[in-house]
């Protein structure tokens, strides 16, 4: 367990895309994995609509401030989310977005160290179920960072969705598959030198 880790993650999207769930499950997985983790949602007065942002820090050391200036990983799942997260993208940031999420090329933050186009929506639609799109994204974050082991993420999924999995074990498999596909998508890009 001699891993050195300290990572700052921003996940942003439209309400209903499951952005908070991604951050919360990752935080839970990291906590169960023995790391320090601090997760905080950005929230406003709106009951619905608007960009949903989640801030997550995972570290071996206690986390200092709840928010931060630049993320190591910034995930934006809509065009508005790209604009909203621009301030968190620096020269060290890996920026993850979904090419199908109607994001214009020129909107992408060129300051990022690396920009990864993860076809999570397409993969979820074609191979899985549109609803597990956010779990594909979660897998992609894990793939890009290795911040938590996939097994630990599965346990955290179980903790959150276990009651649903009990009713329909196929859901468990679907979520696990989504997670693994997310990891593979990033691995494929990083190894293949795509994007």
């Amino acid at each position: 367990m001699e891993r050195k880790r300290s990572i700052k993650i921003v996940v942003a999207g439209e309400g209903g895309q499951g952005v908070q769930a991604v951050a919360e499950i990752l935080a839970e997985a990291a906590y169960e994995d023995g790391a320090q983790a601090l997760y905080i949602p950005a929230f406003g007065v709106e009951q619905r609509g608007g960009v949903s942002l989640a801030f997550l820090q995972i570290s071996d050391q206690p986390v200092a401030a709840p928010k931060f200036e630049k993320g190591d990983i910034v995930v934006a799942l809509s065009e508005r989310a790209v604009r909203r997260t621009r301030q968190y993208v620096g020269p060290e940031t890996v920026f993850i977005y979904d090419g199908l999420a109607e994001i214009k090329e020129e909107e992408l933050p060129r300051t990022a160290r690396r920009i990864l186009n993860i076809p999570a929506v397409a993969v979820a639609r074609a191979e899985l179920h549109p609803r597990v799109f956010n779990i594909v994204i979660m897998g992609a974050v894990i793939g890009a960072t290795r911040v938590v082991p996939v097994d630990q993420a599965k346990k955290a999924l179980e903790k959150r969705l276990g009651y649903k999995f009990e009713q329909d074990p196929k859901l468990r498999e679907l979520n696990h598959r989504a997670l693994e596909r997310g990891v593979e998508l990033v691995d494929g890009i990083l190894k293949g030198g795509g994007n």
Binding site: A27, Q36, Y39, F43, G44, A64, P66, F68
Partner: protein, 367 residues
């Protein structure tokens, strides 16, 4: 006062949840509350936990009522608390003034949001003046400013004991970040750790005939003459000043010979602490001072630390509310006090560190 109310365990939860658990651990009996973001979930979690532990929740029609109901519960000898934020904290000042006048141990948890008025539901440190000196009195209350969820747990428990031991109203001052963020902490039963909960006792309805079997309970918030009130307030002032040294808490490191001493409280102090560690790793002489109690302020410790430092950088998510308390404590010292004010905005370790580097560079040039 039965056995352990809570097995010691490591948990990963939000600050609002932490407050509810801590109140159970502190043997609180009743929460009175009115919803306001970002403290709503204190009530939500309390209503989940309360029935399991034979405790009570009452939602009142507003914060005035929540505060006065808390006073009523305390008069009946129950450990009572409420939680609020922002405009709710403004309304809360009237009942808290009464609690101050009558020396009632009410506990109020505040999750600061942006101000003035409705402003944001998110975060700030803009309720410092209100929480320390709000109300039409002298600010005879205790204010703990927590910097994370373990402290929020520890100090919520402590708040009940401080209140019942000293009979001053006690605030736990946190913020929207601490309310909504999740981080690891250990929950425990204070009794198992040797922290004995101070037993409450009723103010009214005690057995025996008043005046014959026992002194009458005469709790006043109204006085007829100036002299009468003057005597009472002076007596309270003397008592507050007497117990203040037992209550004050602070945290500091590296003040001795620090070129820059960063002074911060609450969640901002976490960033300040990390900034100072960063700077020291770079070889810059930076120090850190954090009052845990904003009322009473650890003024002596602060003066000593400031007297040994080159300069002070006061950092807060407000426009000088905390700095006013600091400057008041430093009166007479010549140390330079530099502000870093970000009203209603979070502050990172990086920006505190870069401000310190600028200050160090500028003092190097002038030397």
């Amino acid at each position: 006062m039965s056995g352990a109310v809570m097995a010691e365990k490591r948990v990963f939860m939000t600050g609002n949840e932490v407050v509810a658990w801590a109140a159970v651990a502190a043997r609180a009996d009743v929460m009175y509350g009115y919803p306001i973001t970002p403290q709503n979930e204190v009530m939500h979690y309390w209503t989940r936990l309360a029935p399991k532990h034979g405790k009570i929740f009452l939602q009142t029609e507003d914060e005035l009522s929540a505060g006065f109901a808390t006073i009523g519960g305390v008069l009946a000898g129950k450990k009572c608390f409420t939680a609020t934020a922002g405009p709710g904290n403004v309304l809360m000042q009237e009942p808290v003034s009464m609690a101050e006048m009558m020396r009632l141990p009410v506990v109020v948890v505040v999750m600061q949001r942006g101000g003035p008025s409705t402003a944001t539901v998110i975060y700030s440190q803009q309720e410092v003046t209100l929480t320390t000196f709000g109300g039409n009195g002298e600010g005879f209350r205790v204010v703990y400013s927590t910097a994370g969820l373990q402290e929020l747990y520890d100090h919520t428990i402590k708040a009940f004991n401080t209140a019942w031991r000293y009979r001053f109203p006690v605030f736990v001052l946190a913020d929207g970040y601490q309310a909504k963020m999740r981080e690891p902490l250990t929950v425990y039963d204070p009794v198992e750790r040797g922290i004995e909960p101070v037993a409450p006792e009723p103010y009214v309805g005690r057995p025996g005939k008043p005046g014959a079997d026992r002194p009458p309970g005469h709790y006043r918030n109204t006085y007829n003459t100036e002299e009468e009130l003057y005597a009472v307030v002076l007596e309270q002032a003397a008592e507050y000043e007497r117990v203040a040294p037992e209550i004050v808490e602070h945290e500091e490191s590296g003040a001795e010979g620090a070129a820059v001493l960063v002074v911060a409280h609450g969640v901002v102090a976490r960033a300040a602490k990390q900034a100072v560690e960063l700077l020291r790793a770079e070889g810059l002489k930076a120090g850190y001072f954090r009052p845990v109690t904003l009322r009473p302020l650890p003024a002596e410790a602060l003066r000593t630390a400031a007297g040994r430092a080159g300069r002070l950088l006061v950092v807060e998510s407000a426009y000088g509310q905390f700095a006013r308390l600091v400057r008041d404590a430093l009166y007479g010292l010549t140390v330079d006090v530099v502000p870093l004010y970000k009203p209603g905005l979070g502050i990172t370790a990086e920006e505190i560190a870069s401000r310190c580097r600028e200050l160090a560079a500028s003092s190097a040039r002038t030397e």
